[in-house]
Amino acid sequence: MSVRHLYVHVPFCAHRCGYCDFVTVTGHDDVHAAYVDALLAELALHGRLAPETVYVGGGTPSILADDLLARLLAGLPGALEVTVECNPETITAAKARALREGGVNRISLGAQSFQPHLLETLERRARPETVAAAVEILRAEGHENVNLDLMFGVPGQSRSDLQADIEGVLAHAPEHVSWYELEAKPGTRFSVHHGAELARQAEALEDHYETVVAALRGAGYRWYETANFCRPGRESRHNLGYWLGHDYLGVGVGAVSTLGLVRRRNRPRLRPYLEACAAGRPAPAEVEELTASERGLERLMLGLRLDEPLHLNGLAALVDDAACDRLAAAGLVLRDGETITLTERGRFLANDVVASVLR
């Protein structure tokens, strides 16, 4: 099977942050080794892979002990781009070395903020100095493609907090920055505790988002995706795969694969996953059959997150031309024959623009 993008999920975390809705597992240090075995067993069921990109995400993949991490990396196919998500507090020189020796050429570091009170609100364990130390260690160990994850819209975040975070990011000169608006999903601990404050600051977030985009572009980063910025040539090739509508294979608990019109979602429970993999069976999963128009709609939705024109090959039927003309006249989209691109203002309003563009 030719899979261009491989995602590997490592669910373990030292602590589950209040805003998080990923599949995570705390404690269970005793099963880390069994889990790595299971991942490799699941992967083996898919035969020999030669992907362009591998992305190890979590959870906190870097929480794995150095030898376990090395074993996992050794078992993964090589690729042009291999990314591992790390939490700053887990980075040691030995870890950084294990990553590099395991073929990892891109590190994504979850900084979130440089303000102690905001890190506390987010229930992060790292302190600002931890982030700085981690970046320093990674650089010293030869990692020259580093992403920092940041967040805006944290309850209690002032304009000057945001400004300080922007300065903090630029001081570390990362090759790539992901800067998300905090999404307090219904049902998370976070939305229960901070819902009222989040609603109150909703309008200030418009400012925050514009400020972030302007500051990073001003510093020479390309705003290549809704929430992602990079130095020239340093896009996340793996994530671009999602946004360009490529197929991808995901392994691990809760991991999702999309292959043609079939979307498989591994079930999130750890125990049944380990048992199935140990027995050489496919991981328990639910399957979503996509229709061609659903896949097309996803293609539009994802493609319009990018700064480059979206080619409408095969998608034209999904587009409302009259609405497109209206939005073009209003300066929200550029329509050029077979392509659609969102203008800068259109990108800030992407949800509404995309919903309007759809027939």
Binding site: E181, T226, Y242, Y248, G254, V256, E288, E298, A355
Partner: protein, 603 residues
């Protein structure tokens, strides 16, 4: 039966003063209805009437009463509708009688409606038999109320009967008083036939049934008959009396009250107040008092579910068969889809129609803010009647405008006079006069624009007098009034279904309230939305909904594509429910703002 032993009478009473109970008691006492068939309030046969305790359609019943002189009298009770909207029908019912029982609640005293109908009866030269009812109530003040009533009809308090329809005390005395005091019908038995239509109903199988009072001559089955005002002719299929169901008789003669089955297929072919006579050799002069009743209050009726449009049309057709005063024509609203512009006699009439449509026809309806009929003369001199803001000509081409006025009678405790006057002042009322009915109760007469009372006048009156005021009105006709159309523009584009017609003095306040309500109901969107209220090209109020600056999903990777797609589909679906006005998306509920505004703005 000779005219000497016939008595035709109605009962005039305010809602809840016991008219129906008294009627029931009379039926029971004369054994017109067998005890086992006696259910409460036999006369109010429509479900809705029984529930609301009011009579919508007039009905009649004949009872036989063995009087003190040993003779048996035929008493025809003609029931009258009990509400201001049906004043004309009341007046026709009264015209069919020689006498009226004026029933007043011993605890409540005279109310505005009683008074209005009592005056109608006096105008029709009816003999009035005053009755104080509910004397069994602990709070009854029979003597005080008897004085008030005697004062009104110009008699002695001793002649006022005191009864309890509930317990039956004094009811037989009422029947005897009808025989003694109400004169027998006069009429020329040998003259060409003349019969007053005081009501009609529609029977699915037999067509229009006319309820008539024969004044002169005799009518028989198979006769060819003509309605003199409208010119409709038909052959009498059957005629008879009410006892209380329809019972066929070989003839109906002068003085009789009964029914005529016409075979006509539409009640509008036979109007209340018209005179029936023989098609050949008939009378030359109709009975006096016929008027063509015209709807004065208009509102749009739209099915909540647009699929119900054909059902709504069928239901209106059926209702119209039984309700000549109801008018309707198709209307299309950008916001509400297909529906009908309906004309009503008044607000209660509107309410009844709406409720019957919903209840009897199982429809879910949206009723727009009602407006009255206006008359507009354009620069070219032509008068037109406007029932709908959309029909209003451009401000520039209007020469003069007129609006309907009513004469309102309000009765309230004397310590609330100030509040009532203030309300009438606010509603552009012109003071007529004031009269003390007793040291504690006052009647106020005001001329008011109908537009000022159609919305919440009655609610306001009640709330400002702690529920003590009663109110009645009669239509005076059109008078000059500076009415204007207030348009709403969204992002510069006029939106028809948000327009309203109002008096110039109210235009600014209502326009402002309307744009404010719209601002609250129109969500922020990709563009700034200017909301303006304007008279012609002059903007009188403006609000702005700022454009939103951010609407994005923060992150989207392999694991959450399905969820994000569903969110997008949901957002798309939400958009489809909105109405597109240029670049602006307007939620359905925003179009209802005009409804609330009319209520607030009028206050």
């Amino acid at each position: 039966m000779s005219l000497e032993t016939i008595r035709n009478f109605s009962i005039i009473a305010h809602i809840d003063h016991g008219k129906s109970t008294l009627a029931d008691r009379i039926l029971q006492l004369t054994r017109t209805v067998a005890e086992r068939d006696m259910r409460e309030q036999v006369l109010d046969s429509m479900e809705l009437e029984r529930e609301r305790g009011i009579t919508i359609k007039a009905q009649a019943v004949r009872v036989l009463f063995p009087a003190a002189d040993g003779r048996t009298y035929e008493l025809n009770l003609i029931d009258t509708p009990g509400h201001v909207d049906f004043t004309y029908e009341v007046s026709r019912s009264l015209a069919a009688c020689e006498g009226a029982l004026l029933v007043v609640d011993a605890a409540q005293g005279i109310e505005a409606q009683t008074l209005a109908n009592a005056y109608l009866a006096i105008e029709n030269e009816l003999e009035i038999v005053p009755v104080v009812n509910k004397i069994d109530l602990p709070s009854a003040d029979a003597d005080g109320v008897a004085l008030e009533v005697a004062d009104l009809v110009g008699g002695n308090a001793e002649d006022v009967l005191r009864i309890s329809a509930k317990t039956g005390v004094g009811v037989e005395g009422v029947l005897q008083a009808i025989v003694d005091r109400v004169p027998p019908p006069k009429g020329d038995v040998d003259a060409p036939g003349r019969a007053l239509i005081f009501d009609s109903s529609y029977d699915q199988y037999r067509g229009v049934v006319a309820f008539v009072r024969v004044v002169d001559g005799t009518f028989e089955p198979r006769q060819r008959v003509r309605a003199m005002a409208q010119g409709t002719t038909f052959e009498v299929e059957e005629l008879g009396v009410f006892s209380p169901g329809m019972r066929a008789t070989p003839e109906l003669g002068a003085g009789d009250v009964g029914y005529v089955i016409t075979g006509l297929k539409d009640v509008s072919q036979l109007r209340v107040g018209d005179t029936l006579t023989q098609a050949r050799g008939g009378a030359a002069e109709p009975l006096p008092g016929y008027q063509d009743v015209k709807p004065m209050v208009f509102a749009g009726l739209f099915p909540t579910d647009s699929d119900q449009y054909p059902e709504l049309r069928d239901a209106l057709e059926k209702l119209k068969l039984n309700d000549a005063a109801l008018s309707y024509e198709p209307e299309t609203s950008r916001a509400l889809g297909f529906g009908f512009r309906c004309g009503f006699l008044g607000l209660l009439h509107m309410d009844i129609v709406r409720e019957r449509l919903e209840r009897e026809h199982d429809l879910d309806l949206l009723v727009t803010a009602p407006n009255v009929a206006y008359r507009v003369r354009a620069v070219d001199g032509e008068w037109i009647e406007v029932h709908n803001p959309a029909q209003m000509p451009d401000a520039g081409s209007i020469e003069e405008t007129e609006e309907p006025y009513v004469r309102a009678s309000i009765i309230c405790p004397s310590d609330h006079v100030g509040a009532v006057m203030e309300l009438n002042q606010e509603r552009r009322g012109t003071f007529g006069h004031m009269e003390y009915l007793s040291p504690e109760r006052v009647q106020l007469i005001y001329d008011l624009p109908l537009a000022e009372i159609v919305l919440d006048y009655y609610d306001q009156l009640k709330s400002r007098t702690r529920g003590y005021a009663s109110f009645d009105y009669e239509l005076l006709g059109f008078r000059p009034g500076q009415v204007v159309k207030v348009d709403v523009l969204l992002a510069g584009e006029r939106v028809d279904s948000l327009s309203l017609i109002t008096h110039r003095d109210n235009a600014y306040r209502q326009g402002k309230a309307l744009v404010e309500a719209l601002r609250e109901r129109i969500p922020r969107q990709m563009f700034e939305v200017a909301i303006q209220a304007a008279i012609g090209s002059r903007v009188i109020a403006r609000e702005t909904v700022k454009a939103k600056r951010k609407d994005v999903l923060a992150k989207c990777y392999g694991g959450d594509i399905s969820r994000k797609r569903k969110l997008l589909e949901k957002q798309k679906k939400g958009k489809r429910r909105m109405k597109q006005v240029g670049n602006i998306e307007v939620p359905q509920e925003a179009f209802l703002a005009v409804l609330e505004i009319n209520r607030e703005g009028a206050a």
